[in-house]
C-alpha cells in the first residue's frame, strides 16, 4: 500500500535534510506508528505520504513515494484527497468554517468530490455514528470540545473513504478525555482492517496497545522498525531522544535493582507489566517459601 524508496527531502533554506534516505514498505490494513524526538522528521514524513511535500512546501526532494498505487510526488493534491487522508494536531484549524453544522462540515469533502446527494447522506450518517458524533450533528463545529473537534476532523476525512489515513500527533493538543476519544475511534477503525493507518505519536502507552508496528525516526533516518514490544523496549533508543513507556521504565528499575533477570523481555503495555511483575512476585514468594 505504501512504498517509499530512498526518500531524501530538504526544506527550502534548510541546512540539512529533514528526511534522509528513507525506505519503507507498509502493507494494506497495517496500523503503523511513527515515533521520534521533536524535529526527527515525523511531520515531514506525514507530509511526504500525503503529497504536501513537495506540492505545498516545495524544497529539494529525491526518491519515490507511492501510496495506494499513485506516485504521490507527481499527483496533484486534489486527486490525492480522496485516496489519502491527513489529520493533524490542531483541531481548530481543521474546521473549514464554510459550514454551519457538524453534519454539513463532514459532507464538505464529499461535496467537493461531486458525490451524489443520496450517497452523501448515507455516508455522512455512517461516519457520524462511527466517530460518536451523531448526537452533535446539528451543532456548530465551533462549539465542540477539542476532542470532539478532532473526531470531527477524522470523520470529515474518513467519510471520503481514503485507503490510507495519516495522523500527525492528533492528541497532542487534547486533554486525557479527548485523547481517549480519539484512540477509541482509531481502535475501531484499525479493527476493520479496511484502512492503512500511519500515526505519529508521543504517547507511547497508547502506541504500545494499538499499533501493529512501530518505526522510530531520528534526524531524518529510520533507527528502529518492528513490533511494539520490540521497538518500545529497545534499550538503545534513548540516545535519539526517544523515551519509553512507564511500564518499561518501571521494569527497567526492577532489573537495575537485581529483582529481574537482565535478559527478561520488558513489558510495554499494562497487561504485559502486570504479567511481568506478577512473575517477579511468584519468584520472590518461591524464595521465601524455600
Amino acid at each position: 500500500m505504501i512504498h517509499i524508496e530512498n526518500l531524501t527531502y530538504t526544506y527550502p533554506r534548510a541546512p540539512r535534510p529533514a528526511l534522509d534516505h528513507i525506505s519503507l514498505d507498509i502493507p494494506q490494513g497495517q496500523f503503523c506508528a511513527v515515533i521520534g524526538a521533536n524535529g526527527a522528521g515525523k511531520t515531514t514524513l506525514c507530509y511526504a505520504l500525503t503529497g504536501f511535500i513537495p506540492n505545498f512546501y516545495r524544497g529539494k526532494l529525491e526518491g519515490r513515494v507511492q501510496v495506494a498505487g499513485r506516485d504521490v510526488l507527481t499527483t496533484p493534491l486534489s486527486e490525492l484527497a480522496g485516496e489519502i487522508g491527513l489529520v493533524f494536531d490542531n483541531p481548530f484549524n481543521q474546521i473549514t468554517g464554510a459550514r454551519f453544522s457538524v453534519r454539513e462540515e463532514v459532507a464538505f469533502g464529499l461535496e467537493n468530490l461531486g458525490v451524489p446527494r443520496e450517497e452523501m447522506l448515507a455516508r455522512v450518517e455512517e461516519v457520524l455514528a462511527r466517530t460518536g458524533l451523531a448526537e452533535l450533528a446539528e451543532r456548530s463545529p465551533f462549539t465542540l470540545s477539542g476532542g470532539q473537534q478532532q473526531r470531527l476532523a477524522i470523520a470529515s476525512v474518513l467519510v471520503m473513504r481514503p485507503q490510507v489515513l495519516v495522523l500527525d500527533e492528533p492528541t497532542s493538543q487534547l486533554d486525557p478525555v479527548g485523547t481517549k476519544e480519539v484512540f477509541s475511534v482509531l481502535r475501531d477503525l484499525a479493527a476493520t482492517r479496511e484502512t492503512t493507518i500511519v500515526l505519529t505519536e508521543h504517547k507511547l502507552e497508547w502506541v504500545a496497545v494499538f499499533a501493529d508496528r512501530v518505526i522510530a525516526l531520528a534526524e531524518g533516518r529510520i533507527v528502529a522498525d518492528g513490533p511494539p514490544h520490540q521497538v518500545l523496549a529497545a534499550p538503545d533508543l534513548e540516545r535519539y531522544g526517544i523515551g519509553q513507556t512507564r511500564y518499561t521504565q518501571a521494569a527497567r528499575h526492577a532489573q537495575a535493582r537485581g529483582l529481574a533477570a537482565p535478559d527478561k523481555p520488558l513489558p510495554v503495555t499494562l497487561e504485559q507489566a502486570v504479567a511481568f511483575f506478577t512473575s517477579l512476585m511468584s519468584v520472590a514468594e518461591g524464595d521465601v517459601m524455600r
Binding site: 481543521q94 459550514r99 461531486g114 462549539t143
Partner: protein, 261 residues
C-alpha cells in the same frame, strides 16, 4: 437553531418569506437598490419602502427587527443631512432662521430625498439578511456559476469574525493589564494601536498555512462539478417574479430616460 453564532443578521422564522428561494430575495434587493437610485422626487422611495418592504417584513415576522436596525443606521445620516445640507445649502430660499444660519428649502428637500434613498437601500439589504440563510444564498449563487471559492470566503468570514472579535477583546484586556494606556491623550491611544494589532494579525496569519492544508485534504482545489447536501426549493412562480422584477427595473430606467416620470 443556535448554529448561527456568526457575523450575520439572519434570524430563523417559520415564514413564507424565509422559505422563498434566495435568488428571489436577492432579485428584490437588487430591484430596490436600482429603484432607490433611479426614482425621481423626494417621496417615491418612501412609498416603495412602505408599499414593498414593510409588508414583506411583516410577512417574514421580522418587522420590528427591520425597523429597529433601519432606524439605528439611517438616523445619523438623516441628522447630518438635515443639519448640514439644510443649513449650508448654497444660495437657497430660507424658510427658518436660527441666529446667523438659516434653513434652506432646497436643502431640506434634498435631505428628505437622500434620507429616503438611504432608507430604501439599507432596508432592502436588511430584509435580505434577516430572512436568508447565508449558506443558502451561497449555494444559490454557486449553482448559477459563481465560483465556490467565493462562497467559501463569505461563509468562512462570517464564522471567523466573531472569534476574531473575541480574540481582539482578549488581547485588549491582556495588554491593558500589562499597563498599556488606552485612555487619555490621542497620542497615547494611538501608540496603543501597534501592540494591539500586531499579536492579532501575526497570530492569525501563522494559522493560515494549516488551514490551507486542511482544505486541501477535503479536495477543495479539485476542479469539476460539485454537489450539495442542502437542497433549495424553487418554483416557476418565483422564477416568474424574478423576471418581472428585472422587467420592472428596465421599465423604470426607460421611463426615467424618456422623462416620462
Amino acid at each position: 437553531m443556535s448554529s448561527y453564532a456568526a457575523f450575520s443578521l439572519y434570524v430563523a422564522r417559520e415564514s413564507g418569506l424565509h422559505r422563498l428561494h434566495p435568488l428571489t430575495k436577492l432579485a428584490l434587493t437588487g430591484f430596490c437598490l436600482f429603484a432607490s437610485l433611479v426614482l425621481p422626487g423626494a417621496w417615491a422611495t418612501y412609498a416603495a419602502f412602505g408599499v414593498i418592504l414593510l409588508p414583506l417584513a411583516a410577512w417574514g415576522q421580522v418587522l420590528p427587527l427591520l425597523l429597529r436596525a433601519a432606524w439605528r443606521t439611517v438616523l445619523p445620516f438623516a441628522l447630518s443631512l438635515f443639519l448640514i445640507q439644510g443649513f449650508f445649502w448654497t444660495g437657497g430660499t430660507p424658510v427658518l432662521a436660527l441666529g446667523p444660519l438659516s434653513l434652506k428649502r432646497e436643502g431640506v428637500l434634498f435631505a428628505i430625498q437622500s434620507t429616503g434613498r438611504i432608507l430604501l437601500i439599507v432596508s432592502s439589504f436588511l430584509l435580505l439578511s434577516l430572512s436568508t440563510r447565508p449558506d443558502a444564498l451561497m449555494i444559490a449563487l454557486s449553482q448559477r456559476g459563481v465560483p465556490t471559492g467565493i462562497a467559501y470566503i463569505i461563509l468562512a468570514t462570517i464564522q471567523i469574525v466573531p472569534r476574531f472579535q473575541a480574540k481582539a477583546a482578549t488581547i485588549l484586556d491582556a495588554q491593558r493589564s500589562r499597563g498599556l494606556e488606552t485612555e487619555g491623550h490621542l497620542r497615547q491611544r494611538f501608540r496603543a494601536l501597534l501592540p494591539l494589532i500586531k499579536p492579532l494579525v501575526l497570530g492569525s496569519i501563522v494559522d493560515i498555512e494549516e488551514r490551507a492544508i486542511a482544505l486541501e485534504a477535503r479536495a477543495f482545489s479539485r476542479r469539476g462539478p460539485k454537489t450539495s447536501l442542502l437542497v433549495l426549493v424553487d418554483s416557476p412562480a418565483q422564477a416568474a417574479v424574478r423576471w418581472l422584477l428585472l422587467l420592472a427595473a428596465l421599465a423604470l430606467l426607460a421611463a426615467r430616460l424618456f422623462r416620462a416620470i
